[in-house]
Subunit: 509 residues, 4 copies
Amino acid sequence: MENGDGNEGTSAFHVPEWMQIQFADQKQEFNKRPTKIGRRSLSRSISQSSTDSYSSAASYTDSSDDETSPRDKQQKNSKGSSDFCVKNIKQAEFGRREIEIAEQEMPALMALRKRAQGEKPLAGAKIVGCTHITAQTAVLMETLGALGAQCRWAACNIYSTLNEVAAALAENGFPVFAWKGESEDDFWWCIDRCVNVEGWQPNMILDDGGDLTHWIYKKYPNMFKKIKGIVEESVTGVHRLYQLSKAGKLCVPAMNVNDSVTKQKFDNLYCCRESILDGLKRTTDMMFGGKQVVVCGYGEVGKGCCAALKAMGSIVYVTEIDPICALQACMDGFRLVKLNEVIRQVDIVITCTGNKNVVTREHLDRMKNSCIVCNMGHSNTEIDVASLRTPELTWERVRSQVDHVIWPDGKRIVLLAEGRLLNLSCSTVPTFVLSITATTQALALIELYNAPEGRYKQDVYLLPKKMDEYVASLHLPTFDAHLTELTDEQAKYLGLNKNGPFKPNYYRY
Amino acid sequence: MENGDGNEGTSAFHVPEWMQIQFADQKQEFNKRPTKIGRRSLSRSISQSSTDSYSSAASYTDSSDDETSPRDKQQKNSKGSSDFCVKNIKQAEFGRREIEIAEQEMPALMALRKRAQGEKPLAGAKIVGCTHITAQTAVLMETLGALGAQCRWAACNIYSTLNEVAAALAENGFPVFAWKGESEDDFWWCIDRCVNVEGWQPNMILDDGGDLTHWIYKKYPNMFKKIKGIVEESVTGVHRLYQLSKAGKLCVPAMNVNDSVTKQKFDNLYCCRESILDGLKRTTDMMFGGKQVVVCGYGEVGKGCCAALKAMGSIVYVTEIDPICALQACMDGFRLVKLNEVIRQVDIVITCTGNKNVVTREHLDRMKNSCIVCNMGHSNTEIDVASLRTPELTWERVRSQVDHVIWPDGKRIVLLAEGRLLNLSCSTVPTFVLSITATTQALALIELYNAPEGRYKQDVYLLPKKMDEYVASLHLPTFDAHLTELTDEQAKYLGLNKNGPFKPNYYRY
Amino acid sequence: MENGDGNEGTSAFHVPEWMQIQFADQKQEFNKRPTKIGRRSLSRSISQSSTDSYSSAASYTDSSDDETSPRDKQQKNSKGSSDFCVKNIKQAEFGRREIEIAEQEMPALMALRKRAQGEKPLAGAKIVGCTHITAQTAVLMETLGALGAQCRWAACNIYSTLNEVAAALAENGFPVFAWKGESEDDFWWCIDRCVNVEGWQPNMILDDGGDLTHWIYKKYPNMFKKIKGIVEESVTGVHRLYQLSKAGKLCVPAMNVNDSVTKQKFDNLYCCRESILDGLKRTTDMMFGGKQVVVCGYGEVGKGCCAALKAMGSIVYVTEIDPICALQACMDGFRLVKLNEVIRQVDIVITCTGNKNVVTREHLDRMKNSCIVCNMGHSNTEIDVASLRTPELTWERVRSQVDHVIWPDGKRIVLLAEGRLLNLSCSTVPTFVLSITATTQALALIELYNAPEGRYKQDVYLLPKKMDEYVASLHLPTFDAHLTELTDEQAKYLGLNKNGPFKPNYYRY
Amino acid sequence: MENGDGNEGTSAFHVPEWMQIQFADQKQEFNKRPTKIGRRSLSRSISQSSTDSYSSAASYTDSSDDETSPRDKQQKNSKGSSDFCVKNIKQAEFGRREIEIAEQEMPALMALRKRAQGEKPLAGAKIVGCTHITAQTAVLMETLGALGAQCRWAACNIYSTLNEVAAALAENGFPVFAWKGESEDDFWWCIDRCVNVEGWQPNMILDDGGDLTHWIYKKYPNMFKKIKGIVEESVTGVHRLYQLSKAGKLCVPAMNVNDSVTKQKFDNLYCCRESILDGLKRTTDMMFGGKQVVVCGYGEVGKGCCAALKAMGSIVYVTEIDPICALQACMDGFRLVKLNEVIRQVDIVITCTGNKNVVTREHLDRMKNSCIVCNMGHSNTEIDVASLRTPELTWERVRSQVDHVIWPDGKRIVLLAEGRLLNLSCSTVPTFVLSITATTQALALIELYNAPEGRYKQDVYLLPKKMDEYVASLHLPTFDAHLTELTDEQAKYLGLNKNGPFKPNYYRY
């Protein structure tokens, strides 16, 4: 999950520099356990999102004082299986309770399970997955199991695994290889343990960030012969897939889950509308009323941020490079400016462009005392934080995720999360949003697995609109929302099937 | 122009009943002037939008007491030309003033004219047009002239022509054939006079509603050999084109201007956000605060209506058939209901679905006293107005565009514009929106006319994103809005051209 | 009614210049009918609000081509009475229908009538009234009748009388003296006919603007011996009363209805929130989205205007003199500026200060082309319109209530309603607001008439909070709103009576 | 500080039960240190607000592992004084830094200090204070010192003292008697140490909650002979004062700071608009979009909560007992219901009435699974939490301040802060709001101390409007807000002094 990053303000299709590293250059050996220092040296080969810091509502369970590496432990679950590697299998019970609570808030997946009692649309599917390992992911994984699939799973981020949840999954028979605080070497080792198995070969990939896909491409390219498709959730991973496709190297169909309507609008617009306020409050306790704010980028994330701050009584300025988004900002009541025009007067600067160096040292030099700077966009490139690491500036950590950067004249800038994603670092992602994403992933797997020969070629696809609509419909009961049905006469008049899809593909919502 | 109708809530691709009338069935002779009664009998053959009532800010100039038909008059402009047919050429001066005022509010077209001083991108173009004839259209037409084109023009609606503007265009040398209050026979006669000319053959079509295109298809199919393309603005006309394309009968490229981003968002979302309030106030003087309203359909128009009414303190319910739009309504804070659930309690019912019989007689029977019913969607099909024409109900016209329909027990329903489009009938369309549309049309003409062989096939296209972005950029100065430019480094990072396009085609804005 | 003017942004207690004219100076004789020119000369002695132009929804009934002055006509109603003077008694039937429609929208007064079937709280009351004569006033008057009062009535504005309604009242036996288009002489003559009657002397006054009160003070001061109290609705009239009180000249209790909570919040905040949009749209058809607007004054009216325009996507600046209101503007998300700072860039200037010369010629000189200037505040003093009447500027009336003022360099300013109240001139007042005002007036009359000796002295009072609450409660059914009742235990805990009043007097709502 | 509680929805004038305890009944001796158990027994005599839990942004300083009671320690500051009692004088440096940061955000007090360089308006003042002891209070205290006053200070809440700040004040020479975690006995002992001093007698009281005032009344009534006035900030304390006044027992003038405009609007409306979102997010990570919420009480706090949740896409219902507030809710777009009507369907219940037992066990029984219940109103009486302490219900603490109460059938209610104030328990109060309050307190002290004989009698007063305006004006620079000044001509026209006050006393803002 890379919530809130992406094609805000500009395109989803930028080329991160690491992409230019050739796959072939990477030579790692996984049988030798490197020393602690040695592990660090591998850090170039891991995707940035895999090491982003990540806060979680459930972080209170973090009592991992046990220093032994899970790779060195011998653990068995109660059924005698040892085909997993987690921090501590004994934490399973606590993890199970977390999963049960999450189940209550993910009615769509539970509804899928119910329907699966009759048919098993994933019978025969062998899914290898690489995602954040949280209670919500566990609900997804166990749903895939209920739908008939076999799963093996690794973490897509070295910090984000909830150990108790991993333990509960392992206890329930899922081969899970993940723990909080993996080294980069551990990271790849875990992925390898998922795919490199005697007598088992995956036929589906569920990826988040593209590292798993990358690994198979590099180490086990022959596996793709049996793989029916890839489901990818992150901006970064989707980008990698489009690059492969463009280069003619994509050898199976792939489903771009990131750009499905429900995910885009919910993950970005609606979720960020709330998390910008939450992130700012938790870190700074500031009052929004009357504050002057500049939001860089008026994509979905920017729209969400602007709407929320305007509603709280802030005066919001917007910067944009795209004239269409710019005109939308105007019509929504925001002055469209260049950053330079307002940088001296604003109280808060928020980036959500997906671009790099949107806030430069020059901008930072000109900000007024106590100006807050944070990033809601992609990765950690938008604010040129590196430019602040100079001798004349003093850094003072005043709270978790909050640094004061102090100029020689005493001016302080309040930098949040060191320029990383504010909503991931200083806020939490609502289960409801995770539910939409997980349901979309499940349906994408079902679609690719069951698609008749020829429906999908070796290309990147968006989820068929009808399935997008289905994901949405599974979430309506949460709001006690009642959908109207077309009469036969109306369906005929509109030239539509009564069950959808209801819109042409280019419809913008 | 069919502002605000269309693919709200459901698809743009319904099949209106008139489409089932075969082109070949229509046999009309235009040399014989029918009697007044005779003209009526032709009404089946004209598109519905051509006869929609239409209110205009400039209707105060309507002093047409002259009863002679323009077709029977001999008129010459000051240069001696008589190649036009308007109500009264002497009204030219007044019309010119209207055009000059409109020019002030259409800076984008004026900017195009300026750029045309160097090059003439439409040199050699012979455009036949069929649109509403208003001051704003005149600015478009004269801009096309400045860009090098020859134009001939008819009206796309029998009521909407501003006679003074038509006179001013004729005086300025434009062969215009249009007046307010044409009969249906006049309507086709005018179109025919535009295309059926000695020594002049059109090579471009600008249509609004599809009637002109239809006429050429039916009467002069050979003309298409020289025609480079069709630019069509209306939902109805675009629909006709897609039907032709599906049937393999489209013989030139066509540009679907209706679904360009700028038009959709501005014409529908932003414009309707304002016109719903305007239309309701002008007709009923009601207060919005505290009123319960149900909005049927949560497409762009529905979104605009809901946002405006919520902001004014109304309590808004939404009905939807599409689960994605339904979920958006939930997240935007509207209860999603079936119409039946709230029909007894609401003060206002607004339709914007593009569907038919959304409000039935049964609903109307259950509404409470003084409930207001109106339509912001497509055409006049959404409310089953015909069902109210029964003997037990009394109709009372209380104001222009406002009827009280009275039940035997005294209950009154307030029906606006007899179920036709409220925003066209009881409000006005801001020049700014018309400017966006007109600029888009001009650029679509330029694109089709100058496109290299093979870029466009015999199909229906959306405006290239770059031109959509260009239209937007031409309107930013109106808001004193300052666009940010990418640095070289940023453009490279994003993999974008610094001048756009800035988004993938599927971007939803 | 002087809806929307008043203590916006500044104090209610300005001293209009006419107040400096001594009452004793005015010597008019009413038996001699002056010539048309002669009538004009009296115009100094009439309050400004009496001659403000006034638009009404019902103005379409204005077919008064009869040139004979009502004062010269002999008319009788169907019961033979001729104790009235209206335009044409034969219009009674049409007027009655208007009254019946208004009754449907004034449920509070109708509820009072029902309760009056048992007791007649105004039995014995002889009320002389001077208000706008509209269908809504008629509902008030007939309610007062049903409550037991005798009434005689004149118009408080020479333009605002609906002749048909006046006829209907006269036909129903009410001695009404009013018609549309009275001369100033007529105005005072009508008032005189109300009070100067053989064998009838008023014991209550209901005034709107203070002209009636003024007249009695001047001509029949002895009448006050029998008068139990004055109910005054307008800012101007209330101001006169406070002046009298301060000067020790107020000889009966007076009720300031203008400053009751319900009137202030509804007439000003909620009503202006809607009427600013309505007034601007009807006059200019402008689009609000993206427009830069400066609102002068952040009282209730300014708050309403700002909220509405912000919601429609305008960028709003505020000017204020009062630091508390200024701080509210900040917290509500508006930049607080001096007019000079933004005058060059704004598209619209709206005054609602109650002050004079807020917009000066110097400001007007600096506005950009097409800037719209209008007034939502008090009277017509806020914009220095007189300063625009200079030879170098050209005035062009482009529509009713819309003037273009053109500078020598071609710059045009769009001046609405010549600087008079936009919401009265170019919009309508919702019946709901009128209902609140009328109910408040009725209750104030009941309170003053029935108050035990000594409860009210010769001073100006606000309506007792309990009655304010009662007015509100009578309007809740309109919204199907369900009030919660205190339990005995809760009432005891709060130290409140279960029936109210619920707030201390200084509560601000 | 009792931020956000009070006269929401209903009256400020409830009678808390403890008020019925007679002052005379309380016989405590403070020279004998009671045992730990003994201390508990005194708890009846302390005001509820003194023991409310209280969270603070600065709680990270809470390293109080030292078990020795401060009362048993011998401490001296660096100047040798031991006239204070704090946790640990050595923490002074850290506390000083906190104070310096707070100074940056309290420009109004700093401005007062600057003006005090010329004159010392509090020269000779001997102020005894009893408030929360935080960095912001320290800025106030040191400002009072700069203005010429001598101060002695105790804490008004046994949990809220920041020990480091107390230490810094003591180090700076302020006799402060306060620490975090006082027993009730400590509480009164500290107060006593402030007033019961050899050779020093207070002539001004600054109180928050009324406990200090109460103590002096009870123990040292003679002190009032020299006391010039009381400044009281809390709802509870103000209520006590009005009771005393009513009973004829108030023997000095008192200033009701709680009901000043700036405090009311900022502390309640604007602050709660933000803190409701913050409090809910920090405790539950819920998503607001689409949630159904009922807000009990539509006073300032309720208005703030409703506006915020509506803006975030929640569907909000309101309950009210006061018809005027009810009508406001309607006009603001909220359905007014009785709690019973919606209790089964809502996702969140928020109380802000100031009343007791607004949410009863019966309501709680009918709520749906996962319903969140919290209190933004007064004290902890609004939700009948006691009724949930029954054997059949299971309580599960899932996070700090979050309990799940589980019904036998598995239904869970999410109870926040055990029904205490959400915004105090689970959120923080912005410095900006504290700045407004502190400035108001300082000005109230100055006013009472300097008022000429006879201006204030033995009664409770609101701050003079001019000073309220002055407080506001001192905070405008924070927003770079520019106030407009009246011209002489305008001031004359309005009958106002150019420097204010600008509004009549009854103005509602």
